[in-house]
Subunit: 356 residues, 3 copies
């Protein structure tokens, strides 16, 4: 059965296929309004994420299907100590497809192992949030006309920003893209991401200066600089205003620049920017809905195909070193690992096993 745990589950060709479907939906809404008639989506949100949940629900409703679920763990059996797998196993008897959000890393793969219906990872802790990346890809494609040959600025919290890492991964699969990494030094891109970029021979520069490369950017992906990320509050106070996008900072940017943001924003983009045609972040949420529609259609259509994305095997003698991994909390979960490039990584949270 096909599922979506991470964007890399899909080939480049499959991603283009999703984009084509989404663009067709945008043009021909009526054509799809009965596509999921009689089908049900469960939104199992073990932590609140209104935007993502409502986007999935709108997507399913626009396909003519219906929705049930919960919006936070306190409304779920998890509070009675039920495992993720039991919840998913039971809900498989109620619906045709599941979108699951969970605070624990690797929870999505645990769900996949129990599910009798396709599972979409709607975010599993700091691990993956692939439908956000699908929204980003469609937005870049619709706004810039292409996914190749772009100069992409990534600004704000590049250290913890899950969506930033995922977008770099995704855009690395298209030719000719360059990356400008803009952040305070405390929140710079982690070295393992830079190692990945070097291995993939991606062109990138790092800077703490938001203005420096502004004129070269085709895409500016904004994220929030959160106070809690700083050890030293003074340091936070010093840098916080440097990464706020306003009309002044945009003065030297290209007319064709497109500004993206995974939302919610707090103050990292001034409201005055909203009326600028380069502001694409609200259209991005529309694109998120369209890609979720395309995704639901694809997974329901291909549900009898095998899930090959994670070629894992059980290794009882290995342990995932990630303390936040689902293998630490979910009862009686088989320890599975993926072997690639001479290393083992946890099949749930993708954490590498060191010191074998």
């Amino acid at each position: 059965m096909r599922h979506l745990l991470d964007v890399t589950d899909f080939s480049v060709e499959e991603l283009y296929e999703l984009i084509r479907t989404a663009e067709d939906i945008a043009q021909n809404k009526e054509k799809y309004c009965q596509s999921c008639k009689g089908k049900k989506l469960a939104t199992l949100f073990f932590e609140p994420s209104t935007r993502t949940r409502l986007s999935f629900e709108a997507a399913m409703l626009e396909l003519g299907g219906s929705v049930l679920g919960f919006s936070e763990a306190s409304s779920s059996s998890a509070t009675k100590g039920e495992s993720i797998r039991d919840t998913v196993k039971v809900v498989s008897n109620y619906v045709d497809i599941i979108a699951m959000r969970h605070p624990i890393e690797g929870a999505a793969f645990a769900a996949v192992k129990a599910a009798d219906v396709p599972v979409i990872n709607a975010g599993d802790g700091g691990h993956c949030h692939p439908t956000q990346t699908l929204a980003d890809l469609l937005t870049i494609h619709r706004e810039c006309g292409s996914l190749t040959g772009l100069t992409i600025g990534l600004c704000g919290d590049l250290k913890y920003g899950r969506t930033v890492h995922s977008l770099i991964n995704a855009m690395s699969r298209y030719a000719g893209n360059k990356f400008v990494l803009i952040s305070p030094s405390e929140l710079a891109l982690p070295s393992y991401m830079k190692d990945f970029m070097k291995a993939e021979r991606l062109e990138y520069v790092e800077t703490t200066d938001m203005d420096r490369y502004m004129s070269q950017l085709d895409v500016l992906y904004m994220t929030r600089v959160q106070k809690e990320r700083f050890d030293d509050e003074k340091e936070y106070m010093r840098v916080k205003d440097c990464y706020i996008l306003d009309n002044k900072k945009l003065a030297g940017a290209k007319k064709s620049l497109r500004i993206l943001h995974p939302l919610p924003r707090v103050n990292e983009i001034a409201c005055e920017v909203d009326s600028d045609p380069r502001a694409a972040y609200f259209r991005q949420t529309l694109n998120g809905k369209l890609m979720r529609m395309a995704l639901i259609l694809k997974l329901l259509r291909e549900k009898d195909m095998p899930y090959n994305a994670r070629k894992s095997e059980v290794h009882k003698d290995l342990n995932c070193p990630n303390p936040k991994c689902v293998t630490k909390t979910e009862r009686e979960l088989e320890k599975e690992f993926i072997f690639s490039d001479g290393e083992y990584r946890c099949a749930y949270c993708d954490c590498y096993v060191k010191n074998r």
Copy 2:
């Protein structure tokens, strides 16, 4: 785009039109059961209000549409610091019409400024709750056969009772209505409301005695006397039982009297009254659903008409004096004011600006 922030947004003729539609729906349910097919309503409830939310959801479902949303702020992005406008802007990409409940006064107008779809104010703090008043109007019209020439008793908390003020405002637009204001002195109608009634030349009497005018009433609008409203608990204990409606108090009332209550009630109407044909408060909730159906139909039909109800202008040098106003909490909100009768009032919360 048309919205509903307050009942006064609609002309008297438009209110009659809503009433006619609601009465037609009551008679011809089948005729409307596909009217909103393919349409979606978002119920954005930043504070719980089950009755109102379920009424909106039932209304949309009976029109053949579907519903998504949230029932309290903890399930929304508001907890991540997102502005009302961003939430509404995003949700505009998911649905065709929004019903929003928010604890902050003036929140509805902030929402209107961002929305790309019609917004219905389902209550914004102590400011407005127009769909309750629509339910009240339909109930009076159906039960009394008219909106004119009625003697209307208002009983309980007339000081803080938002629905009471709104009903007085609404009924002042119909000829020949008289008002009997029944409350403990601590909870008497505020002077600005009495000033309004004098300016409109409305006939009214004030009394602390619930029995005194009972025999003259056509409508008795009951509200709850809440302990928290009293500075002095002894005073509360002294008066609390005086404003409880029971069969004994109803003995001298007209046969044609109709008893309304915005609900939920606690003990201000004894349960023995429920079986009296004069008790209209449960039918009132049915009427609330019917008026919400009529309202959704009207706003979707007229969504390309401009929203002219609040002729406001930006005044950077003016400040709304209301500490509970949305302008105090919502980021980067333009300060707008309405000028009428020589005075400025806040375009969000309707608070008058004094001491210019």
Copy 3:
């Protein structure tokens, strides 16, 4: 109007009729997918119970109907002090049928007294949870081919387990069933249940040894042994592992044994058992949905028939001795009692009145 408060509301023939309908739905899904078109179910869950709620919602959606409601009390008017009856009376104006879950014993009968639409008891405190028992009955019927002549093991917490008592009651109505009561002595079946079994001339044995009768069982109904039920933690530690079902314990069981569990489970059934064909507990949740579909159909079809299940009368001089009874918390509720076999019991919570 017909309702479902307890399984005993239905005759044996009616239960077979529900089973036949459920089995027909399982075979002919399409035949029923428009049966409730235009109908609405309210899920009024005053306490969270995700599994039960989602099962009801899936059931209604698969019948072509729609759903509204709330999933916990904090989202309801109950927090404003509204009575159960007022909530139900109002919601009757919004929907065609109500499924209510409430933490207070007897709440379902209080709801029935106010409702203008059929009410399904989706659990009222420790009192009844009939739709779980309906799921159990269908599971036994589908898995064992019959409801008669079975040896039924009940294992775990037989003292507080509401579902266990309800299942014994239900299975006592079919001929030739024997019961094996397996529990630590602290959690043995209460004496009033044993008195009932004796009065009904049911064959049963009691044991603390899970292995002893394993080879004779046709059905093994597992429940959880909860730490909180023990006065003495040491005693809990001593027995807790004795009532965990694993492959080893199953070694001597019949091939035709079927394992049931009301779920959620914590660790009382090892995950290794899940892949055993005798494990019926996940299929049981599917059966729960099917029986809820059959039940909704029956109650909507028979809604004009009288509710005769509880022949109660008002007795102002009697008091229900149960401190958890809804008569202790719900305002102005008439005290009603059922007289049978020379004794009075509370019409709400079924507690017997002693020491008249």
